[in-house]
């Protein structure tokens, strides 16, 4: 490590020991012990950094801010006993027994080729092919065409471009933060993908069910593994959705 490299590292670190686990910082600090020029630079830099940090830390928020923030605490949404429940068709993410159903679907998937009708077999083959395509697309780390963290704006723009528009999403998928979107062609049909993240990165692929001659219909989600990826698939309101994560299926199931 040269002195200039050490300066670059120490300029970005907190040499006061705030982040002691960083090996590069430790190496740069060790060099400062033997290089007087670096040691003098570090002393001056640290003194300035410390003074500037203290100045920033002296800024106090308005006195009522904390109370306003505490008032934002989410309330419990347990339904009151007297609330009437009106039976309505429910999407899969609102139905009970979801996890067990998803697991059952995954197990039954292996028997599908034997048990299902020819059209269903074709639908499953279509789905497998689409899975392979979007998994390969995801692995290629595609660039986003448009960056946006506003799902409504993404919907609007996709609609204007004649691309598949995602409808209502399951709550925990909807809760992911959007980064942007892109589009590509699949067998001459448009596919939209939306990059999302929480502490993991996801792509949500959206394609019209009309893309397929035998359209898969998946009211209960399928969660399957494909090598290093996990894919969750469902259909709703004429769209087929595939949510992909680089991880295992258990991580995806937490979004159910």
């Amino acid at each position: 490590m040269t002195i200039e490299e050490a300066k670059s590292i120490l300029a970005a670190a907190h040499p006061d020991g705030s982040h002691p686990d960083d090996a590069e910082v430790a190496q740069a600090l060790k060099l400062a012990e033997t290089e007087p020029e670096l040691a003098a630079w570090l002393a001056e830099e640290s003194a300035f950094d410390s003074t500037f940090s203290k100045a920033l830390e002296s800024i106090e928020p308005p006195t009522d801010l904390k109370d306003k923030l505490l008032a934002l605490e989410p309330a419990s949404h347990e339904p009151a006993q007297e609330d009437k429940v009106i039976p309505m068709p429910t999407p899969w993410w609102k139905s009970k027994g979801l996890l067990s159903a998803a697991a059952t679907v995954a197990i039954l998937f292996g028997f599908a080729a034997i048990l299902l009708k020819p059209t269903q077999v074709q639908a499953e083959a279509n789905l497998t092919h689409f899975h392979d395509s979007v998994a390969n697309h995801f692995r290629s780390n595609p660039k986003l065409h448009v960056t946006s963290d506003d799902l409504d704006k993404i919907r609007s723009q996709l609609g204007e471009q004649g691309q598949p528009v995602p409808g209502e999403l399951p709550p925990k998928v909807d809760a992911l933060l959007e980064l942007g979107y892109g589009t590509f062609d699949y067998q001459g049909h448009p596919v939209a993908y939306i990059s999302m993240h929480d502490d993991d990165a996801y792509h949500l692929y959206v394609v019209s069910q009309a893309t397929f001659d035998q359209a898969p219909s998946i009211e209960q989600p399928q969660v399957v593994a494909d090598s290093d990826l996990a894919l969750m698939t469902w259909t709703d309101q004429g769209n087929l959705y595939v949510l992909i994560l680089r991880g295992n299926v258990e991580e995806l199931k937490q979004l159910l």
Binding site: S8, I9, F52, L56, K68, L69, L72, Q254
Partner: protein
């Protein structure tokens, strides 16, 4: 319910509202906007925090969310993309101890406002000392090397700004 959802909202507010407000104030230089940004960050957390499964990443998530909200509001206010200017001078000027010692919070924010926008957020997060440079990279969604170069260049600009403010 995820593990994260069980975390105490009050505890999170207690722990992070001050550094988040300071970050917001340094970006917006406006008490009202800084308060709004901080509130908006916790509002989003209240709505979406349940999807966070790794409690160790909440701090970065909060700073990231606040920064994204700031950028979103800025984009809405003026359709301007921040540009990173080239700086020819790499060596930082020396700041006399007397200049630095007269710094207060508002002077520090004034100086940060004079620094190029691309450097402002990493510099502010660096001086708030809540995040390591690797966490700053994750928070701002930029490579670690970029954070290091922006901090290095940003400090040069910051010191020049402070020297220009000095009466001597």
């Amino acid at each position: 319910m995820s593990e994260h959802a069980k975390l105490d909202f009050k505890q999170l507010v207690e722990q992070y509202y001050k550094p988040l407000y300071r970050f917001a104030y340094s970006l917006a230089k406006n008490e009202h906007e800084a308060s709004d940004l901080t509130q908006q960050t916790f509002t989003i957390y209240a709505q979406k925090g349940d999807s966070l499964r790794d409690a160790s990443k909440i701090k970065s998530w909060l700073f990231t969310t606040l920064y994204r909200e700031f950028l979103r509001l800025r984009r809405r206010a003026a359709n301007v993309t921040p540009q990173e200017n080239e700086i020819l001078e790499i060596e930082a000027p020396n700041v006399e101890p007397g200049v630095a010692n007269t710094l207060d919070g508002h002077t520090a924010v004034e100086a940060l406002q004079q620094v190029d926008e691309a450097y402002r957020a990493p510099l502010t997060l660096f001086y708030l000392k809540d995040l390591s440079y690797k966490e700053i990279a994750a928070t701002l969604d930029i490579p670690i090397g970029t954070v290091m170069s922006r901090l290095s260049r940003g400090k040069v600009q910051l010191k020049k700004c402070l020297l220009q403010r000095s009466p001597s």
